[in-house]
């Protein structure tokens, strides 16, 4: 019983703040967004408010609160937004909650939308290098979209290990006609080899 009373008591302020996210006053919306940073019950309202929110300061406060809550499900839909500012905010927020994003990464990297797959490659940079290397190898081995491969190659150029080289070479062959990808893959392979040599001493 005490637990029920506590839940009811804590969700009431969250509901109030959620209502204030629809206020005409941007300062009030900003304060409400910040107040919800510690209320998991407010995550859905924060996520829903993003679509209509035009004030950059309020948007930033909403994304910050969602990142603090680790509310991946409220942020992910905005990776598909037509609004570049919303996509960027969503990506920045997701970067700030690596542990919460990790279980979603494989499905994001296999999403039907190539733009989502492309942006999701960026999220692997926060993972341990071996894990990122493995995920990016899977991407470049199966991916048909040049820009998604390019995003994965950019990650591999930074975090890649020798186990990625064969996949990178196959990818370069598949996209031989694309000016950028063979160039990027060559640079990535050179960097991985240089890193390997430095590690081997």
């Amino acid at each position: 019983m005490p637990l029920i009373r506590k839940d009811a008591a804590s969700s009431a302020p969250a509901r109030e703040h959620a209502d204030l996210l629809r206020s005409d006053d941007a300062d009030e919306r900003w304060r409400a967004a910040r107040s919800l940073a510690t209320s998991p019950a407010g995550a859905a309202a924060l996520g829903a408010a993003l679509a209509g929110e035009q004030d950059p300061r309020v948007r930033e406060a909403i994304f910050t609160s969602l990142a603090r809550l680790g509310a991946v499900d409220s942020v992910l839909p905005h990776l598909r937004s037509d609004d570049a500012n919303l996509r960027t905010g969503a990506l920045d927020a997701l970067r700030a909650m690596t542990d919460a994003v990790r279980p979603h990464l494989r499905s994001l990297l296999a999403d039907p939308d190539p733009d989502v797959r492309l942006l999701s490659c960026e999220l692997t940079r926060a993972l341990p290098a071996r894990e990122a290397n493995s995920l990016m190898i899977e991407v470049i081995d199966r991916e048909a979209h040049a820009n998604v491969c390019a995003s994965a190659v950019d990650v591999l150029a930074e975090l890649g290990e020798a186990t990625a080289i064969a996949s990178l070479e196959r990818c370069a062959t598949r996209f031989a006609g694309q000016g950028f990808l063979p160039f990027a893959i060559q640079v990535a392979i050179e960097r991985i080899k240089a890193q390997q040599e430095a590690t081997d001493g």
């Binding site: 037509d82 570049a84 500012n85 960027t88 920045d92 190539p114 000016g179 990808l181």
Partner: protein, 130 residues
């Protein structure tokens, strides 16, 4: 006089690809990893052309362009070639509305890229050593 091109893109290899093409064609280059860095750079020194990605952390390319076009002249009039993986008409329209002069969809071949750069810089590629 050598034209200076500011490349604004968070992808390291993309910046390198553009820099390689531009320097071989005789342009001077500078780089920024997002819109905010680019604004800080431009307030310190001008550029003749901006190559602007759309999806970047901290400040995306379209927010950057809108901020740039609100600055005083001549900075506000700096031409901008937007390059993006986003190929839908809605993305192209959004870039134009934000202040893009041209919009190219990635991946971009270096020769096509240099043609647009030359056009926006007001003449043929410089140095012609490519």
């Amino acid at each position: 006089m050598t034209k200076r091109v500011l490349i604004i893109d968070d992808a390291n290899l993309v910046r390198m690809y553009y820099r390689d093409a531009l320097q071989r064609a005789g342009y001077e280059t500078a780089e920024a990893m997002n819109g905010l860095e680019a604004l800080e750079y431009l307030l310190a020194q001008p550029a003749d052309l901006l190559i602007v990605d759309v999806n970047m952390p901290t400040m995306d390319g379209l927010t950057f362009l809108r901020a740039l076009r609100r600055q005083a002249l001549p900075l506000a009039a700096t031409p901008a070639l937007v390059t993006s993986t986003e190929a839908a008409q809605v993305d192209i329209n959004a870039a134009r509305a934000a202040g893009a002069n041209f919009y190219l969809v990635k991946p971009i071949a270096q020769d096509l890229f240099l043609r647009y750069v030359a056009l926006l810089c007001g003449g043929a590629p410089q140095g012609a050593s490519r």
